[in-house]
Symmetry: C2
């Protein structure tokens, strides 16, 4: 994008900014609070700031950092794009601007866990003011400001508000697995933009896997030379990502998996292995037997040299060492390792891995870094300053906290489970009924969303991450009390559009896949039918398809989106429809929603059936289309019975419920997204 | 994308490959020749090669270059994505593979104008064989192979064919203006992929403009430091683009505009100017008065140092020096320049510019480069080895050819004119009725499509370039005899899908903009209405909006696509409908096409009108929607009269034609795409 140039025109120091006289106040009706994540405190007042082509002028203290100026530049450009108006890029250092950004310090070059992210945002009809302790806080405020801009008649306005905001948790992360499938730099950049929009602050970069080593090491060039198929980040790429993330208030925590999940390391440097060496990059998924040899001094020399090099790229205080899923059968077979364990009084593999972790921790400490690892690193032999990332559940996290370890919750936030935004949203890192003490609760640093890469590539990753991640980001930022699912989904729609405007392709990728699947742009019917489906979970897909790294990811399941908006809309409509008295059901808006969906889908099926016959990759869908035809009929019948208040024919209900149950069975690696709603309708008939 | 690794398993030299016994032949019915560009010779036979999960195996000579192996890797991956099948990446060096690629030389590191791009492609039910003199020829053949793969029932097949192919013109270019708006590296990469798919072979990279200097110079860092808003290509970026293009058989010809269009140079280095210095990067478009000073020796020292540096990045034999639109009023005012002209016997600005060009040519010659420039450099004072790129018309190109200059035609291929693919397609670099002799015709090297950047950015560029460029690419590659417009449009649809599958966003960007415009995913109605519009030409838009580099490009005009497929479909339907006897019109398929379009649009208007009232950026469309409502009515009435054979009411025809004419007047920076079809219908009534 162009036009980021900022011209500085005045040099008087700005210590305090005051509200200014300006354009006349305009009443601001119809404001919808779409903010996501919800701020801690918001007070909305009458009127607002109506944006015109010349009433938005910028004031920023002379001491403002380049990072802050870039952030303001990006925000102004987004406001221009949203409103269609040109806004002057001149920055004043006095209090004459109508958009004032005041920051009391320039923050630290390296963002810390304890970064102050709080901000105040006040808007009147003549002034917009963002105030924060750090540029990072100002970034959060600018994102909120952008979300507040809404059309009011023929113009765009910001409502008069007073917002005080800060995050509930310090660690609000998204992990992207770039090991199993490589994700190009631009994919990561657009995801960092999206993360910033929802105020996430940790990009956990999963850089090494059995299936690929993705970060260039100049010390050990074979790591990517042998272990990456040529798909890796140069050190310059990685530095650019770190810089790009810092500009958006996001820390980058790199992960280098050890001692397991290390086939790519070991293929490149077999001398690290415990006995069995991989004969190539591992293409299959699942836990592997390959493991580093924790008994050899050379292993630690290698790791130290490697991690030292990595600290020149990744300035964050934390380094993630993986540590999960290392069954390491070699450790139980290799006589040398067995002898070592005996002589070092290490009872079993767990003890040996703890020994390994202590040694790696010592290296990290020497490098001025702290250690993060998955659940499995949790071992009383480790000191208390490691962070446990819990993928095995809340209980495991709580257990670590009771023993004084810091933790980050991930178990309920696995996006490849293809669960609903609702399910993720309701999972809390510290549930209201937690048994942890206040001090123990402080050890829960926050949560991290995990996007594992087995079954996605650059063409599908956005729709797997967004918009569901926005709902989880609210869980990490906002008060525990926000648990209104309908309101969350209401706000998720404009959030989803904002994310696509920022560059995410979670909405457009479905059509792209559908066109590709039928080799034509004539996708209206297919799009309608696709809205009835969502992808199955990682596990179900793995079972049905046994995907490997080599599986082409261009099936119908790759086109459809998890938790498409219609799923929740149909459930709300069903609830409302069933909640209406039978007399008004015929004309209820909820009936219209149900009718429209099932009739649109019903009409689209014949055309899709025809297209499927010429599209080999769609042919597994034939049984699903047959089921869909039946289910649409069941839905239309139920609505009819429920509207007329008439009883259904004998056996109809049972046979309908059977059809629904049959439709829940695995087929074509996709599942229907409306079965709960439909089942509710059928069950309500009599 | 992953999985490009190639494993070499056999080392015996492959000199000659023969057809092999293999799977049984399957009849191959329903093959559609969708090839674009059309090959020189194609013979289609019965049957074909049916692709299964294990019958495609690769044979390539041991001597094959890494470039060729990468190209094969990409092709195999695209075939996997298209078929959903995993294909082994093992490469054999004997004749046992069923996909055999034979290349007789490894070509040159730097692709030349005279590169041999010919290839033979033969397919039988058991063998696919691509043979070429150079890897570049093999690349062309692999693209043809990919296009031949079509679904046949439940599988994908390649029909049995014998193809002999080579290009008609040696220079088949696409120019992208990255000066007026910057285009990120990934945008260029996806356009290079698309160029390769349609066998274009020159990427003309317009790198400098009044509005921005986009290529890093280490000799003169202020060029981008002052002249780019921070939006430029590092030298590493540029080398990556050159490498990426070479891998796809595409030369990169860089353009450095001089002596005019140089405000960004002169803002950075005012000492180069002829008198008037820019006070910043120029934001306005149009011809500017700034020009380099051709009279100072220092100017040439600067240019030599700069171009010498650039030759380390751009290995192509040709360098484009721009040379257009340099009115340079300073040259007529600056006493020193006037004195110089007098003393050097230079009569006017043209003579001074020719003097300048001769000096730059001498520099380029010293650097072992040849010169390309726009029309204006054509001057008998220049030697015959410069290449004239004609933007002022075919006559200008022909004139240069008659005087012995080589030329490339661009005038009819300006994409920002928003003309139809048809119009571009019919324009020939050497028309059938040319008055040039055979020898003069040889001086016409080919053609170049121009994508100027005033009114586009990275979000819209794809839909401006594609798919129209595919039609022009055929003009440059294929025989002059291909002039069947309906067949061109028939093939353009699958081509368009292929391009989007490769990564171009020309199809998805419309929806992205529409969602953004209404802030909602509820775009079905808006999409339908949008299909009735296309963008106006550059000139019309400039007149209506007076765009500058700072204009946000997020209006409705930025959403809609030039020459959307429905335009030609409606014209064909109108022609067929009017060609049918009135008795069968009622049930004619062409009537169905017309009815569907106008009734869908008609139904969508009310919802869009409602959405427009809440979307400030769409409000300029209100008058257009009112017109559209009237035009839909006119269309439906005409169809009715023409079907029933009844006369229209008095004055109806005149008033309808008046409505059509009124609808042609400028409004909302868009135009209707169906007016010619509609006008045909109305005129046919009686």
């Amino acid at each position: 994008m162009t036009r980021l140039r900022i011209t500085v025109v005045s040099f008087c120091l700005l210590l305090e900014l005051f509200s200014l006289p300006g354009a006349m106040a305009q009443p601001y009706k119809g404001f919808q609070n779409n903010l996501m994540p919800a701020p801690a405190v918001i007070r909305v007042e009458e009127g607002g700031f109506q944006i015109t082509s010349n009433n938005m002028t910028l004031s920023v203290p002379e001491s403002a950092s380049p990072l802050l100026l870039r952030a303001i530049g990006r925000t102004v450009q987004r406001i221009e794009d949203k409103t269609g108006l040109e806004i002057s890029r001149e920055i004043k250092h006095d209090a004459s601007g109508t958009l004032q950004v005041v920051v009391h310090s320039n923050g630290s070059a390296v963002q810390s866990l304890d970064e102050d992210e709080s901000y105040h945002l006040t808007t009147t009809p003549t002034l917009i003011r963002v105030e924060a302790q750090t540029p990072t806080g100002a970034l959060r405020g600018l994102e909120t400001l952008y979300q507040l801009i809404q059309p009011t008649g023929s113009a765009f306005s910001v409502p008069s508000v007073m917002i005080e905001d800060q995050p509930r948790f310090r660690w609000r992360g998204l992990m992207i697995d770039c090991g199993r499938h490589f994700e190009p730099v631009e994919v990561l950049k657009r995801n960092l933009d999206a993360m910033a929009a929802v105020k996430l602050n940790v990009f956990h970069w999963h850089l090494t896997e059995d299936q690929g080593f993705r970060i260039e090491s100049k010390e050990f060039p074979k790591l990517t030379g042998e272990g990456s198929d040529g798909n890796f980040y140069t050190q310059e790429d990685a530095r650019e990502i770190v810089r790009y993330a810092r500009d958006r208030g996001i820390r980058v925590v790199p992960e280098f998996e050890m001692p397991g999940h290390s086939a790519a390391w070991l293929f490149a440097y077999p001398e690290l292995a415990s006995g069995t060496n991989p004969t190539g990059i591992r293409r299959e998924f699942g836990v592997s037997d390959f493991a580093m040899d924790p008994t050899r001094e050379e292993t630690y020399q290698f790791i130290e040299k490697f991690l030292k090099e990595m600290t020149t790229i990744f300035p964050d205080s934390y380094v993630h060492i993986g540590g999960d899923e290392a069954p390491a059968p070699d450790w139980k077979k290799n006589p040398r390792i067995l002898a070592f364990m005996k002589s070092h009084d290490l009872a079993d593999n767990d003890a040996l891995q703890a020994y390994f972790n202590r040694h790696v921790l010592a290296i990290l400490t020497k490098l001025n870094r702290r250690m993060v690892g998955w659940d499995e690193i949790f071992n009383p032999a480790l000191p208390k300053d490691v962070v446990i990332q819990s993928w095995r559940g809340e209980a495991s996290l709580a257990k670590a906290a009771t023993q004084g370890y810091q933790g980050v919750l991930s178990a309920p936030y696995y996006l490849d489970g293809m669960k609903s935004a609702e399910t993720h949203y309701l999972a809390d890192p510290i549930p209201a009924d937690t048994s942890l003490t206040t001090d123990q609760q402080k050890l829960i640093l926050g949560g991290e969303i995990c996007m594992w890469g087995e079954q996605l590539d650059e063409r599908t990753i956005d729709s797997r991450i967004w918009p569901r991640t926005a709902a989880i980001a609210e869980r990490f930022w906002s008060s525990q009390n926000h648990r209104d699912i309908d309101d969350m989904y209401r706000r998720l729609e404009p959030m989803s559009i904002e994310l696509q405007t920022l560059g995410s392709r979670h909405l457009s990728s479905e059509d792209t896949h559908l066109r590709d699947l039928i080799g034509s742009d004539d996708i209206d019917a297919l799009r309608t039918v696709a809205s009835a489906f969502e992808p199955v979970s990682f596990g179900e897909r793995y079972q049905q398809q046994h995907t490997s790294q080599l599986t082409p990811l261009t099936s119908f399941v790759d086109a459809v989106r998890p938790d498409p908006p219609i799923r929740h809309q149909l459930e709300v409509a069903t609830r409302e429809f069933l909640g209406s008295s039978p007399e008004i059901r015929a004309t209820a808006p909820s009936r219209q929603v149900l009718d429209n969906f099932f009739s649109d889908v019903g009409h689209a099926i014949p055309k899709v059936q025809q297209q499927v016959s010429d599209a080999p990759r769609l042919q597994p869908l034939e049984q699903r289309l047959h089921q869909l035809t039946e289910l649409v009929q069941v839905a239309q019948q139920s609505i009819q019975y429920l509207t007329q208040g008439s009883a259904s024919p004998a056996d109809w209900k049972d046979s309908s419920l059977e059809k629904i149950e049959a439709a829940r069975k695995p087929s074509a690696i996709v599942r229907f997204d409306f079965l709960d709603a439909l089942s509710g309708l059928v069950k309500a008939t009599h």
